[in-house]
């Protein structure tokens, strides 16, 4: 019989699989451990120190995100010591961070503020003079960095390096001057950055934020409604959340930004590319076609219903087949189609119209 590995968590014996961290087990067991620098997609850094807990046999508090469970460990995530740790740590964070919502939450939710409220961190320790240096005038159109909101948790730089393999940004300087920057403080446009916006997605405080909603003075993320959909820029099928201002577009709702779902919940694991994350303005663009158009005998395009448009297209295709044979037809599918759509294209080609002339633009 294989012995089951267990730890004691808050006085309860719970099982673990060797290699699991204290945080993994606590999450599964519903025991609350706060984190800021943790992202399941990244190697644990243990740098923000919010997840420290007591572990038997260890003199020091241990980071739950980076400490692997050991057989028989007794883990305490709620104690006087841990509580004092959380309060004083968050109190210290707040001396180096604006703590009014107006200032500190400029779009994305600020997890540090939420946590400070949750653990009743002191806000009367004063405010440091420290104004962190950062690069100015980055002319990239999508990503904005506010060093005053940055807590140097390095989630963005680690994401850029470990997940994207791009390493366009880095921790720079040291000590209280530590900040996030690029090579020679260049604009992201002049670096290896691919504008995936993953830095925005992983940032816990909104120091990395999307430029457009900021410059347009749009609503903060908490006031927006999220609508899950599939990205239609390519066939991968990434899930994304349209952030809709319900009052926008004359009360019909307006998409004002795109965010990625929680890592681990969808196949794209919270990742998106530049198109999925930033190219959404077409949705409400005035040039966008919103109904099918059929060219009439007068040579002009006329609005039509889907039924009508499909009927005209079918008649046209079948007319070519009848007059010239099925191999006079060919189908080229778009790389923006999903796999299921591509399947249907070859189905209509082979089964409905009888030709093997079918191709997909991404296949070359």
């Amino acid at each position: 019989m294989i012995a089951r590995s267990t730890v004691t968590l808050q006085g309860r014996q719970v099982p673990f699989t060797p290699g699991e961290t204290i945080l993994d087990v606590a999450k599964r067991e519903g025991v609350e451990i706060p984190t800021l620098c943790h992202d399941p997609r990244l190697d644990p850094a243990g740098a923000c120190r919010t997840c420290l807990v007591e572990v038997s046999g260890q003199r020091r508090l241990m980071p739950a995100c980076a400490t692997k469970c050991g057989e028989g460990d007794e883990i305490t995530a709620e104690s006087e010591r841990v509580e004092r740790h959380r309060k004083t740590l968050l109190g210290l964070y707040l001396t180096d961070h604006p703590f009014s919502r107006d200032e500190a939450e400029r779009g994305p939710p600020n997890e540090l503020l939420d946590m400070a409220e949750r653990y009743a961190a002191p806000t009367d320790w004063g405010t440091l003079d420290n104004k962190r240096a950062a690069r100015h005038g980055d002319r990239n159109p999508y990503i904005d960095f506010d060093p005053e909101l940055c807590i140097s948790c390095a989630r963005c730089t680690r994401y850029c390096d470990e997940v994207e393999g791009v390493t366009a940004i880095t921790l720079a300087g040291r000590g209280s001057e530590t900040t996030i920057t690029t090579v020679d403080n260049l604009s992201l446009m002049d670096t290896t950055c691919e504008m995936c916006g993953g830095c925005i997605d992983t940032c816990p405080t909104g120091a990395m934020a999307e430029k457009l909603p900021l410059t347009h003075g749009l609503k903060k993320e908490r006031e927006l409604t999220k609508v899950r959909t599939t990205c239609n820029f390519c066939g991968v099928g990434c899930q994304l959340d349209l952030n809709v201002d319900p009052e926008g577009h004359d009360g019909r709702g307006r998409v004002v930004k795109v965010t990625s779902p929680e890592p681990g919940t969808t196949t794209n694991d919270g990742n998106l590319c530049v198109k999925g994350r930033f190219a959404y303005e077409f949705i409400h663009h005035e040039d966008r076609l919103t109904t099918p158009l059929i060219r009439g005998d007068d040579g002009e395009l006329h609005q039509a219903s889907w039924e009508e448009a499909l009927r005209v297209a079918a008649e046209g295709l079948m007319g070519v087949r009848d007059r010239h044979g099925a191999d006079a037809l060919a189908f080229v599918s778009s790389s923006r189609c999903t796999m299921e759509e591509n399947y249907l294209v070859q189905k209509i080609s082979r089964a409905a119209l009888g030709t093997n002339n079918v191709h997909q633009c991404a296949a070359t």
């Binding site: 004083t88 740590l89 000590g175 020679d184 670096t191």
Partner: protein, 547 residues
């Protein structure tokens, strides 16, 4: 690029940055093209290290406490007024010859206002007094005799290139050597006081067969300059100790990490390495040197390993410990210079002999004495010596003893009433301080504690790596709170006391912040950084009281 290629390229990065003249515009991108490493990463590494990040500064005046007590502030101000490319620097490990000035990578001792004036605005013309060539120099070392029977380090001893201790260790065998180390009671001399034999046995017992030995010669704890003297005077002992360690734990490659400001000690150890390699003194064991680039934190062993790998010198989370996963993930034995230099004598003269050299704990110890004493220098004395005895070796006090810092900035301050505490690891810890690196600074009645604390806090703020919040924010918070509570900057040595007008309430949170830094910081820097303030508040409350 393969993982090995990238590892290789990274390891050379700091040297390449230095050769490129430091971090100027375009350098990171150029090096990225040459090495294949990401340009942002190169920029991030260069910006971390003071000697790389600011290449236009040619002179750096030491702002360590002992140099400040000798007027470093005036020297810095005069140099700035003369238009020299100068900045302040954290302790340069020349506290025995203050004020010290770093010229590019060379430490010049005892540079005063006269030397600054004589340079007539040309940084290259700043020289140490009476030494226009800025040649190699060494400090005072006691006892002033060659006495191998009573001194484990024996800094006045003649070089011993016989490798007899290396041969004796091999003849005795690994287990006997480990037992000998254990019986000797040798503790890590870098500051932690960890029993050496445990680390040796741990590395030896790893399943992974590629192992390394790393020498920590990144001596930068303020008030500490003993490793400098060992490297200069007994490089033979250092190499033999390393060779014994490498043989014992099964390593072929030994890395010596010297702080970048140790240009002269580096020359001494490199000459000895060249000779040892040529003589094949230690068989096929190879020694490699690495110059630091200006970062106190790299004296923390895991930060040192990161820097050696060519990364930003930020400490790693432990576990795993370096004995298990150290340099490039391989089992690694990391030791301070002094610890390793004790080993040949232990092998030659026996564990009991070494143990008996100490009084309250095992062995003799190098104490660095500076500040208000007659003859600052490095003194080899029994572990457990008292301050008065130690200062007697250093020629006696200058003025009346007011306070002392027993083991570097990290040990905080103790009042004169603690002068009889045995200066060993346990007794000083029990007194709320620590032996640390045994960098002893003696303060007489002319020094305001507030002023002294302000300089120590400034040091930790400048040298925090910035990785974890308690240290990054806490070091800044404490320094700023003390400044603001006085309503002004440090002021003069004698007049650091509050004159009113400050934000006194900021000091009310010091206890909580210090508790958090101690509990929450990743490494010893942040854990110890509040001590100068908390110990001074405890022992000298009047100097911080509201006026």
């Amino acid at each position: 690029m393969s993982k090995e290629d990238q590892q290789h390229a990274r390891g050379h990065l700091p040297d390449q940055l230095r050769e490129a003249g430091g971090l100027t515009e375009g350098v990171a991108r150029d090096l990225s093209r040459k090495t294949g490493l990401p340009e942002a990463e190169i920029y991030g590494v260069a910006s971390f290290f003071h000697l790389l990040a600011d290449p236009n500064t040619k002179l750096r005046v030491c702002t360590g406490l002992s140099c400040q007590m000798a007027g470093a502030d005036e020297v810095l101000a005069a140099a700035k007024a003369a238009g020299l490319p100068v900045e302040g620097a954290s302790c340069l490990a020349a506290c025995d010859r203050p004020p010290a000035v770093l010229k590019e990578r060379r430490v010049l001792p005892a540079v005063g206002l006269a030397q600054i004036a004589a340079a007539k605005g040309d940084w290259n013309a700043v020289h140490a007094p009476g030494d226009s060539a800025d040649a190699a120099w060494a400090g005072a070392v006691g006892p002033e005799r060659d006495d191998p029977e009573h001194l484990a380090l024996n800094l006045h001893g003649a070089p011993d290139r016989s490798a007899s201790a290396f041969a004796a260790a091999q003849a005795a065998g690994v287990d006997a050597l480990f037992d000998q180390l254990e019986t000797s009671g040798l503790q890590g001399r870098g500051g932690a006081g960890f029993p050496a034999h445990i680390k040796w046995r741990a590395v030896h017992g790893q399943a992974e067969t590629t192992r390394y030995v790393v020498l920590n010669a990144d001596e930068a704890e303020p008030a500490t300059f003993k490793d400098r003297e060992i490297l200069l005077r007994r490089p033979d002992r250092v190499l033999e100790g390393l060779a014994i360690a490498a043989w014992a734990v099964g390593a072929k490659d030994v890395w010596l990490y010297l702080r970048g400001e140790f240009e002269i000690p580096l020359q001494a150890i490199e000459a000895e390495i060249e000779r040892a390699h040529a003589e094949q003194r230690f068989g096929d064991i190879r020694f490699h040197t690495h110059s630091g680039q200006g970062a106190y934190i790299c004296g923390e062993e895991t930060a040192l390993l990161e820097a050696l790998e060519g990364k930003r010198g930020m400490p790693r989370l432990r576990p795993p410990y370096p004995v298990e996963a150290g340099l490039w993930g391989k089992p690694t034995l990391v030791h301070n210079v002094e610890t390793i230099a004790c080993v040949p004598a232990i092998v030659e003269r026996g564990a009991e002999w070494f143990r008996a050299l100490g009084r309250t704990e095992a062995g003799s110890k190098l104490y660095c004495v500076s500040g208000h004493v007659q003859r600052p220098g490095v003194y080899e004395a029994p572990l457990g010596i008292t301050l008065d005895e130690l200062v007697e070796m250093a020629g006696g006090y200058v003025g009346e003893l007011k306070a002392f810092s027993p083991g570097g900035a990290s040990s905080g301050f103790l009042p004169a009433s603690k002068r009889n505490v045995p200066m060993d690891y346990k007794s000083l810890a029990d007194a709320g301080s620590m032996l640390g690196s045994a960098g002893v600074v003696v303060l007489n009645g002319t020094v305001s504690m507030r002023w002294a604390v302000q300089h120590q806090l400034r040091f930790f703020e400048d040298e925090s790596c910035g990785q974890c919040a308690p240290c990054r924010i806490g070091t800044y918070y404490l320094r700023e709170s003390l400044d603001k509570s006085a309503g002004r900057e440090p002021g003069t040595m004698a007049e650091g006391s509050p004159k009113g007008g400050g934000e006194k309430e900021r000091l009310t949170h010091v206890a909580d912040v210090a508790w958090q830094m101690n509990e929450g910081s990743i490494c010893g820097l942040g854990q110890a950084a509040p001590l100068p303030l908390t110990t001074a508040l405890k022992h000298f409350p009047d100097e911080f009281a509201a006026s």
